[in-house]
């Protein structure tokens, strides 16, 4: 009886929410316009663009030149006229035309630079042990598409010319030419079923499209049913009704997920129609079109639909949790961007080639759906993994709903007037001056820095080595500085810019020494566990340091991180964490984040530990200068070891023992603990940053 009453109420709430949502223009637009208008437009646009590109390639005429011959006629049957005839021959090449010009080599070079011609050939006679040979060099500009195409075509033609010459030479020797020319034949045959090939192509884009369309489909209804009720002032009306929070949330949740599922299915259907249309168009164009039995996709698509539903439930619950914090549509939209970034970033995993889809990954939300969809489309059915994905998504959705029910009990959240916690996306004029960053802002800044590190940092480091490292560090410094300028934060508090007491400096040096000893032990312990990882780290270091001087290395490897990384981790992030979390939680989380950021399993533990110590020092002293010093010392030792290994080994032999004995380990641990303890003891017993409840 009781449950049936509950069900009736949930049904009534669901009905009310659905009617309400379907009368909201934003929801309808998101649900219908994207799949029914945007996709066809994208598809049509790409078709048009494709044919336009093909058309432009076809109509192109390539200007090529042969520079003044240095080759002697007659060497190995070289015949300038025949070569010209071959190059200029446009009969056999229907798609492209080469136009031949003859210019002296010097002017060839200028003409290429001025882009008057697309490529030119220089023929030189060269003496080798076996006799005289003609060497053909093709000069072109790899940065220009037409030029590289022309070069490729010339190469093809020269290959044919080579074959011709060989055939001629062989026949002059009276040998059966074909067998000698092609003694073996190599060919490739793709054994993947055509369905698998199409599936793997779909698997690249489908997860991303599906995940983002579900998120878009869920977002507006989620905002409408949570923040929307607050904004329109109907929340209090809702709370006068004789329904429990659980019934309310479940009713709302089902309404949001219905819209999300509907929009996802619409998206899927629209995408299918579009790809069938696309397929039909391509097929008439290309004689070698893939023959695909669409019926073979039906089971795969059914599982995709099932996953979609599970994911829609999950994302609806999560989105509702996020939007419940907002007071208005405008504020909720501020949360949209970071949410989309996280979800889309995670869904990009399907693009990573050869990603091993294990049981552990199957439990990671978003990533699991993305990988599963791309696996299913190449017909890799692993039912246990499918089950894990479905079940974990349900479990996460349920957890999010439980959280949501608790949030709805929070009167502060329901009736409160607190401002937005994400300030970075708020108009600057609306922000008050002063204070430290919010935790949400800090997380965003950290994410932005990490993305910059991954995408920009790796590129500039590969390109500029040590200088690239410096650029990366400056980027890391720039993001929090820019963010705190934009949100008008007080720099002194945000970056803990307080002068230390002299005795604290001693404390910092001592505790850093102690910590260093412990970290060496830890990394030699971990080193045996993660040998490859350590090797990779060392190799990267050697590569980056190639040709660098000692002072340069010291400045860039020790000083720059001591300033830049400290500003981000112990400055911006830690001050935000300190404000919101209990001290222990703030210190451990900030430390762990510092560890994660080094993107290596071994370094996670060692730098994580270091991060915890640094955060603790800032917590105790409020001075980032101390941790900057400690960070500098820590990295400087590494630079010294790299540049002066013998001297360092003589001075500090224990740093170099790969397998220290038990006595030595005990001694080092004792020394480390004593130094660390003494260092920490030297800090003023009263923490400088006040504890805020």
């Amino acid at each position: 009886m009781k449950t049936s009453v509950k069900m009736t109420k949930i049904k009534a709430i669901y009905k009310k929410e659905m009617m309400d949502l379907l009368r909201d223009k934003k929801t309808l637009v998101m649900m219908l316009v994207v799949p029914l208008v945007i996709y066809p437009l994208i598809m049509m646009g790409s078709l048009l663009m494709g044919s336009a590109i093909a058309g432009s390639l076809q109509s192109d005429e390539y200007q090529i030149a042969v520079a003044d011959d240095k080759a002697q006629e007659g060497v190995n049957g070289y015949d300038a006229a025949a070569l010209r005839a071959l190059l200029g021959d446009t009969e056999d090449s229907l798609e492209y035309h080469l136009k031949l010009e003859e210019i002296p080599e010097k002017s060839c070079k200028d003409a290429l630079a001025a882009e008057e011609i697309d490529a030119y050939i220089v023929v030189e006679a060269k003496d080798t042990e076996e006799g005289r040979k003609n060497v053909f060099t093709i000069y072109y500009l790899s940065s220009k598409t037409t030029s590289s195409t022309a070069a490729t075509m010339i190469e093809e033609k020269l290959e044919r010319y080579k074959e011709q010459v060989s055939r001629q030479l062989l026949s002059e020797l009276g040998l059966a030419s074909e067998l000698l020319l092609k003694p073996v034949e190599i060919s490739r045959s793709d054994s993947s079923a055509n369905e698998e090939r199409v599936g793997s192509m779909l698997g690249m884009i489908l997860p991303f499209l599906m995940i983002s369309s579900i998120l878009l489909g869920a977002f507006y209804p989620a905002v409408d049913t949570t923040a929307g009720e607050k904004e329109r002032g109907t929340l209090e009306t809702l709370l006068t009704l004789p329904v429990g929070n659980d019934e309310l949330i479940i009713g709302k949740f089902f309404a949001v997920s219905t819209v999300a599922v509907a929009s996802a299915v619409l998206n899927l259907v629209s995408m299918l129609f579009m790809s069938m249309y696309f397929y039909a168009v391509v097929q008439t164009d290309d004689a070698q079109a893939l023959q695909v039995e669409l019926a073979n996709f039906v089971p795969a698509l059914l599982i995709v639909v099932l996953c979609t539903v599970a994911f829609a439930l999950f994302i609806s619950a999560v989105t509702m949790c996020v939007t419940t914090f907002a007071k208005s549509f405008k504020e909720a939209n501020n949360y949209a961007t970071p949410l989309m970034l996280v979800v889309m970033f995670a869904s990009f995993v399907a693009f990573v080639p050869n990603m091993e889809f294990t049981g552990l990954l199957a439990a990671v939300p978003i990533v699991n759906i993305s990988l599963l969809i791309s696996d299913i489309l190449v017909f890799e059915y692993n039912f246990s993994i499918i089950m894990i994905v479905l079940v974990t998504n349900m479990v996460y959705a349920a957890l999010a709903i439980v959280l949501l029910i608790r949030l709805y009990n929070s009167e502060e959240l329901m009736f409160g007037e607190e401002g937005t916690s994400i300030q970075i996306f708020t108009g600057r004029g609306a922000l008050k001056k002063g204070g430290v960053p919010t935790l949400s802002d800090a997380v965003l800044v950290l994410a932005a820095s990490l993305l910059l590190l991954l995408y920009v940092g790796s590129v500039v480091q590969a390109r500029f080595l040590l200088w690239g490292l410096l650029m990366t560090q400056l980027l890391i410094l720039g993001v929090p500085l820019l963010a705190s300028w934009y949100t008008k934060k007080e720099l002194r508090e945000t970056f803990s810019l307080h002068a230390p007491k002299p005795v604290w400096v001693l404390g910092a040096v001592l505790s850093e020494m102690g910590c260093y000893l412990l970290i060496i032990l830890l990394s030699s312990l971990l080193g045996s566990l993660f040998e490859q990882d350590i090797q990779a780290v060392n190799d990267t270091m050697d590569y980056i340091l190639e040709g660098a001087g000692f002072v340069q290395a010291l400045l860039i490897i020790a000083l720059a991180p001591a300033v830049c990384e400290e500003a981000l981790f112990r400055g911006y992030f830690f001050s935000a964490a300190r404000k919101r979390l209990r001290p222990a939680a703030a210190i451990i989380i900030s430390g762990a984040v510092f560890g994660i950021y080094h993107l290596s399993l071994v370094k996670f533990f060692t730098t994580g530990l270091l991060g915890v110590l640094f955060c603790y020092v800032v917590y105790r002293t409020g001075s980032i200068f101390l941790t900057a010093l400690m960070h500098f010392l820590n990295n400087a030792v590494a630079v010294f070891v790299l540049f002066y290994p013998e001297k360092m080994e003589r001075l500090f032999p224990f740093l170099f023992h790969e397998n220290p004995g038990a006595a030595e380990v005990c001694g080092l641990v004792a020394a480390g603990v004593v130094c660390l303890g003494a260092g920490l003891w030297l800090f003023n017993p009263k923490p400088r940053t006040k504890h805020i409840n």
Binding site: K9, T237, T240, L241, P242, K579, I692, N693
Partner: protein
């Protein structure tokens, strides 16, 4: 009948420099309103009226104390859902679902109150007659005038035939005709033996309407009784002066004899 004893509501307030302090918005209020009675809850802004009424309506849970109501059969109810089922709550913040017509909204809410579609339909017809909503009951609420939507709000409170009405400044910002509709409604319901709890800043309105008055200041009751009794106590001739005098006394720290 609605009754609450020693209600306390503690909030944490964030002040400058992120210092959080606790304070009692409602600090030990006992209140009781009988069937067939209109009880006025008066007090300056920030006295704790809204918090008190929200707790009585079970929109907020009290930090201390309990709310009890009796339904039309005299049964005592203390559970949140049961209390909500027997309360009609109206405040400046209980807005309507604008995308629906009044009829649609009422029938959806009827379902949530546990009525069958037929029951809801019958009840809506009845309410349309009582409140004279016929002219606009099928128009979307977003197109109604302020007075019309106020009448729909009353219809919302009336829908489930509650025993107790809690009205938090229901006439705030309304013109004379619209507030007249609400005042008449409260009187009618009182005459039918319902309990009405009502807060307002309009002293003339309260004087003319309330059987008894509870005066609240800084989360506490500073005076209660019939309007006549309060006037006599403070030696004033109208409730406005009574109110001012009581607040004045309280602010000086003195209590009335």
């Amino acid at each position: 009948m609605i009754k609450a004893e020693n209600l306390v509501k503690t909030f944490t307030r964030t002040e400058k420099k992120n210092k959080r302090t606790e304070f009692n918005a409602v600090d030990g209020i006992s209140i009781e309103a009988a069937d067939g009675e209109i009880l006025g809850v008066l007090g300056p802004n920030g006295a704790g009226k809204t918090t008190l009424l929200r707790m009585l309506g079970k929109l907020m849970s009290p930090t201390e104390g309990e709310v009890l109501i009796t339904d039309e059969t005299g049964r005592k109810l203390t559970k949140e859902i049961e209390i909500k089922r027997h309360i009609g709550y109206l405040s400046g913040n209980t807005k309507l679902y604008k995308r629906f017509s009044a009829r649609e909204m009422l029938s959806l809410l009827g379902e949530i109150y546990g009525m069958t579609p037929q029951e809801a339909e019958g009840r809506i017809e009845e309410i349309v007659r009582i409140l004279d909503l016929g002219a606009f009951v099928d128009n979307r609420i977003e197109r109604l005038s302020t007075g019309q939507s106020q009448r729909v709000s009353i219809a919302r409170c009336l829908l489930h035939s509650p025993q107790v009405y809690i009205f938090d400044e229901p006439t705030l910002g309304l013109d004379i005709i619209s507030s007249r509709a609400i005042i008449d409604f409260m009187k009618q319901e009182k005459d039918q033996g319902k309990t009405v709890l009502y807060s307002t800043h309009y002293m003339e309105e309260a004087e003319f309407l309330c059987d008894r008055i509870v005066m609240i200041y800084q989360g506490q009751v500073i005076a209660k009784g019939t309007p006549e009794k309060l006037r006599a106590q403070t030696h004033t001739t109208n409730l406005r002066d009574t109110f001012l005098k009581l607040i004045e006394n309280e602010a000086q720290g003195g209590l009335l004899a």
